[in-house]
């Protein structure tokens, strides 16, 4: 189907040129923003284009330029968990915002299962994408390497599990953020501090855990418990139960993301522990719900929307660059003081 009432064919550059009384080439120049065009022609073309409400045919353009003018936003996760996390939507929003106005399409894809992974890789290698934003990869996923080998520009959300030559990425200062959370807890006079980690096949979880330990070490203290979660509310609940069972005396918890912190809050309440009086709590993300729970969650904010935008922007500039290792972009975090610590 053509998106147009039957009978009226889509206006082409040809028809715009005809109406403006110039050649197709000149019309093309004007629409492409070339400056080497006479004032008269320019105006005539612009008027004609508006008149016909002309829209460039991207297929024809792509064929010539060998660019697709589209960027993929790819979620490398078969599980539901990541999509349920607002983090994902905010990254997407940021990427979209950065691309809006650039005349670049955002193609969305989820890699659920091997079949889809293969289809996607095939598609990407076919030159149908000017770049790929890769999000929520686990472990040592070979996809970035493979795309790079096929000369497809890639930007990763978060550092790769293992360093990959030539791979660009945008990350938050996870270790620094975690450390600042611990320091806050220490400032508040807490002595028995535990942590709930994220899934340890993800670099973000690893870095937050390391930052947590670094913060304690710096004060000559030791963790009073570590329980592994999975970045979900339910995982946070389980981990908190573990922590309490192992050491009923803990007086502070750093959860590696907000969802797990919410789970921990529930469990603490169920065990009759008051937050923050008995147990102080700090999360990570500053997700949209953090301000709405009660008491409101003290957390480490990472600029997720800005990170999404940065990834898209990175991709746009990478297009022009030659070989050489791209510089990772590490965005600062910020402690948001609210009611739980």
């Amino acid at each position: 189907m053509t998106a147009r009432p039957a009978g009226r064919p889509a206006p082409t550059l040809e028809s715009v040129a005809a109406l403006a009384g110039v050649s197709r080439a000149t019309a093309g120049r004007v629409l492409a923003g070339s400056t080497t065009v006479g004032e008269q022609s320019r105006e005539a073309v612009l008027r004609a284009a508006t008149e016909l409400s002309y829209v460039t045919n991207r297929a024809a353009r792509s064929l010539m330029t060998r660019r697709s003018d589209s960027v993929a936003f790819v979620v490398g996760e078969s599980e539901e968990r990541f999509l349920a996390d607002p983090h994902f939507a905010l990254l997407l929003r940021g990427a979209h915002a950065a691309l809006a106005g650039q005349d670049v399409q955002l193609v969305f894809s989820i890699l659920a299962g091997d079949a889809e992974r293969q289809r996607f890789e095939h598609f990407a290698r076919g030159g149908h994408l000017d770049g790929v934003i890769l999000v929520s990869l686990h472990g040592d996923d070979p996809l970035p390497r493979r795309l790079l080998d096929a000369a497809v520009p890639v930007v990763l959300s978060g550092r790769p599990y293992r360093p990959v030559d030539g791979l660009a990425y945008v990350d938050a200062d996870n270790a620094g953020g975690a450390r600042s959370a611990v320091e806050l807890l220490l400032d508040r006079g807490r002595k028995r501090i535990a942590t709930i980690t994220g899934p340890l096949d993800m670099p973000a979880a690893l870095d937050r855990r390391d930052g947590f330990h670094a913060g304690l070490d710096a004060s000559g203290m030791r963790p009073h418990g570590t329980a592994d979660g999975d970045f979900s509310v339910a995982g946070g609940r389980r981990a908190m139960e573990e922590l309490i069972a192992a050491d009923p005396g803990i007086d502070a918890v750093f959860a590696a993301n907000d969802l797990m912190a919410f789970g921990a809050m529930q469990v603490l309440a169920e065990h009759g522990r008051r937050v923050p009086d008995d147990v102080a709590l700090v999360g990570f993300d500053d997700s949209p719900l953090a301000a709405s729970v009660h008491p409101a969650l003290t957390t480490v904010r990472q600029p997720v929307v800005a990170m999404g935008a940065a990834m898209a922007a990175r991709l746009m500039t990478v297009f022009g660059e030659g070989p050489g290792d791209p510089v990772p972009l590490i965005m600062p975090t910020e402690l948001v003081l609210r009611g739980t610590a």
Copy 2:
């Protein structure tokens, strides 16, 4: 850039044909799945295509077929709220799943602000989209009508605020679901039942409110309070505060979505009301968090992923159809009994 190591040009149909020793036309026929091709040629072509890892150039194909092989998923909402709601991600996932394997791209867009709306409409009218999935529109948005007028197939998520001729949509049985929630509360012996509504410029909120009233009417009862929320946790909190202030004696609440129910749960706890003993609570959505809060939320499940898939499927079939009013698809809801009622 071409997504391919410099020097090695992307294989074309031409090169596949050459390697297979047939004409480009025959190669094309095989790859398009035509049956009028000899067994020998077919095998030769398939082998050659695999050998070269050939990928059809979509731009060239689009140019010929006048189809874009892409569908847009469009969020008509400038506000953050909708994106933070897991509902959105699940719809997206469903739509993506239905399109996977169909060789159709999912183009993602958010209509934040007038500039973006215009750009999008222009783009869509340009015939760059085979169809549009429209999500989270407010009030009497003219966009569906305008797209339809431009002969762009549209499927709406949820019924339109006002009926629009020829507009396809997929909705949940909001009124029925709300009604079943009320009936549960009545079954539990509750007498003083209030509701927290969604934003009343959205049909889903309206229909749930109406279903709530219908359920009460059927038993000859009247609502003990109505407070308007906005589908957010914070809005649910505010509404619950209102409800308690207006009538401290209420013994049940139906919240028009889960996020507001979460807010209500917090406020009830803060006021020393036990859930469900003192006040029973039913939400709507069965969002991923509903099972994780404590007590776990009793709620009305709507099949969101299936709805997203249905919208995409609808779009694919609409392509072929002629004029005539499409039949709306109303998906059933289901009461999920958990701890709050």
